[in-house]
């Protein structure tokens, strides 16, 4: 068992995730895109390029090998983050002769609305209208290398590079205008896509300034950026820039891409994890019109003229599998602890009124279940493979394809249309590889959309975990001891906000029986659940107000401010009807400060738990788009409610027992409480990312509220899959 130290930098990718790095050799340099060819392709206008520092070479992380659960299938690691620290944060911009501005970034849009927030950020620096700006994202032939979209890093890391590119362009345009108008540069202003000379009422459009020639500049690291206090476009609630394409159904996700002569694929899945193919009779399928069966080692798939025919052909395959016995759900937590017995739980009170508490918390495996299943359209043309797919790691998927087919990177292009969400679940390229394999065999473009059952079984899960907490507290509510051992869920958010002398937090990597990987906020959700539940237990044992207890032991001013604002909005301490309970949870993760309050009602007869409302205070520095930030926080709470109340993957002997929405319950309209988000817009502080941290507080807040209502302490996620019984 390998033990790692807790993370110190909130933006550092979780140690755990590094273990999932593919065994592959990854391209460390920016896309194999030839910069000169790229520039030439752009034609006339102004080009601004960045030369981001190559901070950290691949393979220096010293990450141990992936656990077996992540190696299964051999199609690349599950949830792999492709290496170590940010290597290349390149961004390019081109201003065409017609005034169209195109920014190029390898980041992906998966519903976090970064296409909009990045557009706002660059419009602000460039002083160009929003409508003139196009964001070219996530195309390995057209955009600079990017390690992937995760860890809430786009806003703190990518946005500043893009802003700097925009600011460099603005400065270059001012230079050009000064020369062309023969005026002093300081008399010019940039606004609304033009450089203006107020004294002579003359102005020149950005596009005109280059006069058809191509000018190339590089980003100057010291280009001044506008302070958030001076923002006019950034910092406002600009609607989703391409929203109309979505409400009209015009936007094409990867699963909507159509290629000439395209056929449809399906892949035969093994009977269980680690099962191997014993025999295959494909004759009935092969006899079906237009059907092709593709069999290469353990890979078996079909292509057919329609998706329905592909499904029928798949059903006609007769396969036998050799399976091996595997552990089941009931043995899970013992296995994660490596067979060691659980420490004895209990509360002890000393003569001076001080307490010690030992408790264990568990978290089930859950599925991302993105509404758009993994999907890919693959096309081979003149020896070059192009794949449209939904992923958070376009370059990582390209490299998986390079490996899988023995190609050079310039022979593979991965294009990621704005994707039907990911939540950390779309880091790998399995669907892309499968579609490419089918397309190669069929000699035609192939569309392959995973079924819901594929998605629930052959993707990867949020890690299950066992967390032991041992603590000590004085009668006055001062925390004096803290030991926190997390088995399997991971390191993110393991270090809490409380000041406790000699506190110790440890993540123990163990063998996971199911494939596991990144999930929104990584292990921060599990670690916050255990910590914030335990803190609540201590407060109750001491008969102290849970919020006061937290305030007393936490010194961070930003957290205090968030807690106070949200507590007021929630009405903490106000009277409530019988059967209702109030709960709170707080935390700091990935540069965000969060305080979540929940009110639940428990029906004593049925044991039904209803979450009535949730109020969340959130601080992630200067806010780029308040409405979208609220939307992310609301959505994070609603999604987090599923894991809190009822979501759990059930498994037995290598098989998933509930691989359908009918048996894996996700939050629906009827489960949704009233939600309110209070934003602390800290214009004096850099913007942190915000897509993940909003999820960490809801489960402990709800669990604590249930205890407040009923006195029943729940220590396992999901809390009440069948209501509160007994």
């Amino acid at each position: 068992m390998k033990t790692t130290a807790p993370e110190s930098d909130p933006l550092f990718p979780e140690q755990y995730e590094l273990h999932a790095a593919p065994a592959y050799r990854f391209a460390a340099m920016p896309g194999r895109l030839d910069r000169r060819a790229f520039i030439k392709k752009l034609g006339g206008g102004l080009v601004v390029l960045s030369f981001a520092g190559r901070v950290w070479a691949q393979g220096e992380s010293g990450a141990p090998a992936a656990p077996a659960g992540q190696r299964r299938g051999g199609a690349g690691a599950r949830g792999g983050r492709g290496g170590s620290q940010p290597q290349n944060l390149d961004a390019w911009v081109h201003i065409g002769a017609d005034g169209t501005v195109t920014f190029f970034t390898g980041k992906t849009e998966v519903g976090q609305n970064i296409r909009t927030s990045l557009t706002q950020a660059v419009a602000e620096e460039l002083a160009a209208p929003l409508a003139s700006i196009r964001m070219m994202m996530a195309d390995t032939d057209l955009t600079p290398f990017d390690q992937g979209t995760f860890g809430s890093l786009t806003t703190p890391q990518m946005a500043p590079v893009l802003r700097r590119a925009a600011a460099t362009a603005r400065e270059a345009l001012l230079d050009l205008a000064a020369t062309q108008l023969a005026v002093d540069r300081t008399t010019l202003t940039a606004a609304d896509g033009k450089i203006m000379h107020a004294a002579s009422s003359r102005s020149l459009g950005f596009g005109e300034l280059t006069r058809g020639q191509q000018l190339v500049r590089t980003i100057a690291a010291d280009t001044p950026l506008k302070p958030a206090s001076a923002w006019k476009i950034a910092g406002t609630s600009v609607p989703k820039v391409d929203g109309r394409d979505f409400v009209t159904g015009r936007h094409r996700y990867a699963s909507d891409i159509v290629r000439p002569d395209m056929v449809f694929g399906r892949v035969l899945r093994p009977a269980a994890y680690s099962a191997t193919l014993a025999s295959l009779d494909a004759s009935a399928a092969e006899a079906m019109p237009g059907v092709k069966v593709v069999h290469d080692g353990e890979f078996v798939g079909v292509t057919a003229p329609t998706s329905f025919a592909a499904t029928q052909a798949l059903a006609a395959l007769r396969a036998e599998w050799k399976t091996t016995p595997q552990i089941s759900e009931r043995e899970l937590f013992t296995q994660l602890r490596g067979g060691a017995p659980a420490p004895e739980a209990g509360l002890t009170t000393a003569g001076d009124g001080s307490l010690t508490l030992q408790q264990t918390y568990t978290v089930a495996y859950i599925a991302h279940a993105p509404l758009e299943p993994r999907a890919a359209v693959a096309e081979w043309l003149d020896g070059k493979l192009t794949v449209w797919t939904g992923t958070q790691r376009p370059f990582g998927v390209r490299d998986e394809l390079v490996q899988a087919f023995g190609l050079t990177p310039d022979r593979v292009r991965v294009i990621v249309p704005d994707t039907g969400s990911g939540y950390g679940g779309k880091h790998t390229g399995q669907a892309a590889i499968e579609a490419a394999k089918l397309a190669q065999a069929a000699g035609k473009p192939v569309k392959f959309v995973w079924t819901r059952e594929d998605e629930f079984t052959w993707a990867y899960f949020r890690p299950a975990g066992v967390i032991d907490v041992a603590s000590g507290v004085r009668a006055d509510g001062t925390l004096t001891a803290w030991g926190f051992d997390n088995y399997n869920s991971g390191n993110a958010g393991i270090a809490g906000p409380y000041v406790i002398p000699g506190k110790r937090e440890q993540f123990h990597q163990t063998h996971s029986p199911l494939p596991q990987g990144s999930y929104r906020s990584l292990a921060a959700a599990a670690n916050h659940f255990a910590r914030e539940t335990h803190i609540d237990e201590l407060a109750r044992a001491l008969k102290l107000d849970p919020l006061e207890f937290r305030r007393k032991n936490c010194a961070d001013e930003r957290l205090h401010a968030v807690v106070d604002a949200a507590a007021t909005a929630f009405g903490w301490g106000a009277a409530k009807p019988a059967g209702h309970g109030h709960g709170v949870a707080v935390g700091i993760d990935k540069g965000g400060y969060v305080a979540t309050f929940a009110e639940v009602a428990v029906d004593p007869a049925s044991g039904r738990v209803t979450v009535l409302r949730a109020v969340q205070g959130f601080d992630c520095g200067a806010v780029v788009n308040p409405e979208h930030l609220k939307n992310q926080n609301e959505g994070a709470m609603v999604q987090g409610l599923g894991a809190a109340l009822f979501e759990a993957i059930h498994f037995e002997n290598g098989r998933i027992r509930n691989p359908h929405f009918a048996s894996y319950r996700v939050p629906r309209f009827g489960d949704t409480p009233k939600v309110e988000v209070i934003l602390m817009d800290r214009k004096d502080l850099p913007s942190a990312g915000a897509g993940e941290t909003g999820i960490v507080g809801i489960a402990p807040a709800v669990g604590n509220a249930i205890c407040d209502a009923t006195g029943v302490r729940l220590r396992a996620l999901p809390l009440v899959p069948n209501g509160l019984k007994g």
Binding site: G111, Q112, R250, R252, T306, F308, M637, F669, G670
Partner: protein, 159 residues
Amino acid sequence: MPAVTELNVNGTRRTLNADSDRPLLSVLRDDLDLTGTKFGCGEGQCGACTVLVDGVPIRSCLTPVGAIGPQKITTIEGLEKDGRLHPLQEAFLEAGAMQCAYCTSGMIMSGSALLAKNPHPTDEEIIGFMDGNICRCGTYPRILAAIKRAATAIQGGAK
């Protein structure tokens, strides 16, 4: 296998040649290139594939195309009239009722059917009617707000 050779979609007669037991969803998407209607589960559980058949919302992933006959199909592509969005499409934009927006087509189709039947739905009625539609990004509160906003807009327009 009998074939379906004609469908009435978004006010237009479309000719095609599809096995009658294929799901309507696949025929709309793959034969007629109407990809605004989404595949989310194929099991009738998520509502991403919702279209209207004679105004009634149905799960097109579970409906064989042979069962449609001459009935009128409306998909998300058919809601916009003469460049003007349906009030619920407008309301989704105004309420920012989407993140990844993969659920949006199905939500708008279900919601527009509700509003056509019940122009002033209560919160409970909206929740009850929409409970078969999943938004994994959790934008339910905003979708609820958008439906109410559209109800108000339609009411105003009708005056």
